[in-house]
């Protein structure tokens, strides 16, 4: 533990903490996206809608060995911890870098300009606000027009009737995708795995995962708005 703390004290250690927590979150967003696509699974009208059944399955995963909702809450806590570490390190690194150049250039012409790499911090803040909104919208139902606990499919359809809300989701998912386009590329360098062999795959992998996430996440709200996914 002391070693980990010594590591964290350094700038590289904080970067590593961001990379590891970021990767955990990437794992989550990929899984979550695949889960959402269950909305498209055809339903024969018997029993629960596949999406609702999937939600039920997640809630009871590990039961009865673990308490009901036990694993679900374990994963939620791990994600919360990862978000906490990610944001704390981002904030500390931002402060360190800001104080490393307190007087700015009269004229600066950046030689490398990647929109994704320059918007990591603000993009991250957008994602954070969205996560809070999304939890109130689809998990707690507080800001949902017609929320029914456990009726996941119905909640989706009712929740995406407004083009404004769909727009909010698309912007947030766009921000996430941009964040990960740089993040997944960056993570190889941070963790010391940047070398000529990896170099060829770094951009394509980042583009594929972040692009795939955008398409996967955008599909459900757009399909509801277009009427492809309608009320049962």
């Amino acid at each position: 533990m002391r070693r980990v703390m010594t590591l964290y004290e350094s700038s590289i250690g904080k970067k590593v903490a961001m990379a590891v927590s970021g990767l955990l979150l990437v794992g989550f967003v990929v899984g979550h996206m695949l889960g959402n696509l269950k909305a498209f699974q055809p339903w024969d009208g018997v029993g629960m809608h596949p999406l609702d059944a999937y939600g039920e399955y997640l809630r009871t995963l590990g039961y009865p060995v673990l308490p009901e909702y036990g694993l679900l809450w374990g994963v939620r806590l791990a994600l919360l911890l990862a978000i906490g570490v990610h944001i704390t390190a981002a904030f500390q690194l931002w402060r360190q870098s800001r104080s490393a150049r307190s007087s700015s250039y009269g004229k600066a012409r950046p030689q490398v300009f990647s929109y994704a790499s320059r918007t990591m911090r603000w993009g991250g803040v957008i994602i954070l606000f969205f996560v809070v909104y999304h939890l109130l919208h689809m998990t707690a139902g507080t800001v949902h027009p017609d929320f029914e606990y456990g009726a996941v499919y119905q909640n989706l359809v009712a929740g995406f009737q407004s083009p404004l809300i769909v727009a909010v989701y698309l912007i947030a998912v766009g921000a996430l995708s941009l964040h990960l386009y740089h993040g997944i590329w960056s993570v190889f360098a941070t963790l010391g795995a940047q070398n000529p062999k990896v170099e060829r795959w770094r951009r394509p992998v980042a583009a594929l995962v972040s692009g795939g996430l955008f398409v996967g996440y955008a599909a459900v709200p757009l399909a509801v708005l277009a009427g492809i996914l309608g009320p049962l």
Binding site: S10, S97, A100, R101, R118
Partner: protein, 255 residues
Amino acid sequence: MNLTLHVWRQPSPRAKGDFRTYEAAGISPTMSFLDMLDLVNERITQEGEEPIAFEHDCREGICGSCGMMINGVAHGPQKLITACQLHMRSFSDGDEIWIEPFRADSFPVMKDLVVDRAALDRVIEAGGYISVRTGSAPDANAVPIPKPHADRAFDAAACIGCGACVAACPNASAMLFTAAKAAHLSYLPQGQTERYERAAGMVTAHDEEGFGNCTNHGACQEACPKGISVEYISRLNRDFLRASLSGIAAAGRGD
């Protein structure tokens, strides 16, 4: 050519500086950028003003002292050269040129365009050495070094410590410099003994000097007159990780 220069003037480290405008008339395209500043300085001196202070020594791109920002780019618009290797043919008649010092809190401005880059020396001191048995010279080729390793060490050793990487970095990080200095030893058999202490010591010194942290933008690589690759930073990250997790970093700090 006739040019208009906007030059950062700052009489002393604590004074507040500002841009002042000078006309540079009758500049030949074959002059180097520093020749041009010399010419302007002659005229300024005749008019009774203090000449523009800038650092220079070799004037052939090997000593690393001449760094400055030229139109917002470290060492000016041409890739892979230092400010002293820049020629006025890169500009055209009537151009306006903004000239200011490298900016980072770890590089305090001493005067005009001259900054104190001793922080980089202190990073080297923290690990840029090897232990060897002294005595008679070893036989040539007694220690075989694979060609790819020799090449990579040599590429890293091309760093002239100019500080352009810090100047160009949006975070004012000196990771490219630090990584080059570490790699130039860690690719060689002679550099293995202290490899992980070196990584730990130099990164700790880097942070303590107040440089920012690397966010993998790659602006440093673009600015570097010697074409040092950011891949060295990734290698330093790996060595530093290993040093930390094996306890070498903590031991080196005496706690």
